[in-house]
Symmetry: C2
Subunit: 217 residues, 2 copies
DNA sequence: GACAATCTGGTACAAGCGTACCATTTTTGC
DNA sequence: GCAAAAATGGTACGCTTGTACCAGATTGTC
């Protein structure tokens, strides 16, 4: 399975060789330039994820998008699953970071700002201009984790961070809510969105906004 | 694209030929046995849909599951999309029929029966024994329609029927609810379920039950 | 500056995919 | 019963996929 990938480590201890036979440290870049390439692949994969969902992440598509040769994808990632996971993580953390920066960058939020910020966090801030892609992605990730158990831990971790951030946001807007209330709000919005996806002229953000406004005090 | 598929219809009206050039009636079976085979393929595809999602519906897999040769799939269905659509429809309508029969078969529902029946309709009645597959399917279908626009009309139609059925169910349980209230309830449950899918030991039905009980008067 | 370690990128391959073809057999309509 | 229509099923094609290979270029370390 592994090729001449890890000829590094000149067998630190001969006895360890059988116990830690292979795999490991696959795809770790040890060079600044290598790290940059690896990151470029993750970002390319993330873009494809937004545009075409999980099915869009393919070795060839990712390599082409990143302007790198095909083999670089197998060099830096031991499997397509690892690439998918890194892409999901990159996109999720970028979105979380965007939200945190946004929050710290403004003072007290009025009701409208609060609404839009909550929608940004739950539907993706790119959904402002009506793009469906980003919206789809959040729910594809959630549902997709059902058939991709390896994603679940990551999704859970990012979900918890999102939850905490929403608690903060509501507090800063003067509408402090308990953890349970936020959980409920998330579920309500998520359910509204997935059901809005099948409308003939889907406007999930609009649907979510109506529900959210009715819910906020 | 079409082969000698539809040499039937000896051109009822020559003038119609150019206006309705091709496609049409592809895959329509004209024979009882043919209809049975076609149905067998739909059911096989539906099983695969439950087990492996959209990705599980493949010509070869469907044919093998139905015990039919590969070519039968292209003979009865003009494309894989049509097969997917029929499988989704079959599964959805079967579930709806199950619910209607269930409703008419029992008298006034008590609170617990009501809860379970609502969960059956929203998560799939096979989710009673903890199977995740059926649960996943409902949400894969909803989210999947985002990237498969051809499914949206069908999903909308079945969604409306589900909505109406839930209104009936609640009425029969002595908890009459407005259309808007039911819409909200559906969203709340759906959102709860998709968020429960990433738990380390997923129990979406349990999570939905807790929310539902808190919601019902 | 030399020597490993790391990275690069062109290429190859087997498997699986949707779809098409077509010589037969079965069924239908008259 | 017979011609025509429908159905059957084995087979093949062109394409995409994930992954493997490996000779050469680049880089980091001493």
């Amino acid at each position: 399975m592994l090729r001449g990938l890890a000829p590094s480590l000149v067998m630190p201890e001969p006895t360890e060789a059988p116990s830690a036979p292979s795999q490991e440290r696959t795809g770790q870049a040890s060079t600044p330039k290598g790290e940059r390439r690896r990151q470029a692949l993750v970002e390319a994969a993330s873009e494809l994820l937004v545009e075409s969902g999980f099915a869009g992440i393919r070795h060839r598509a990712v390599a082409e998008r990143a302007g790198l040769p095909l083999a670089s994808t197998t060099y830096y990632f031991s499997s397509i699953e690892e690439l998918v996971e890194r892409a999901v993580e990159y996109h999720g953390r970028t979105e979380l970071a965007w939200g945190r920066e946004r929050l710290s960058g403004c003072g007290r939020l009025d009701r409208d700002e609060l609404c839009e910020l909550v929608l940004d966090m739950l539907l993706g801030h790119n959904s402002r201009d009506g793009g469906l892609d980003v919206v789809l992605l959040r729910y594809e990730r959630l549902v997709g984790s059902g058939r991709r158990p390896y994603l679940a831990p990551l999704m859970r971790e990012m979900g918890d961070e999102l939850h905490a951030l929403l608690v903060e946001i509501l507090a800063q807007a003067g509408a402090p809510s308990s953890s349970a209330e936020v959980t409920r709000l998330i579920a309500l919005i998520d359910g509204t969105v997935v059901n809005a996806l099948i409308e003939s002229d889907p406007d999930p953000r609009g649907a979510a906004r109506r529900v959210l406004r009715a819910e906020l005090p």
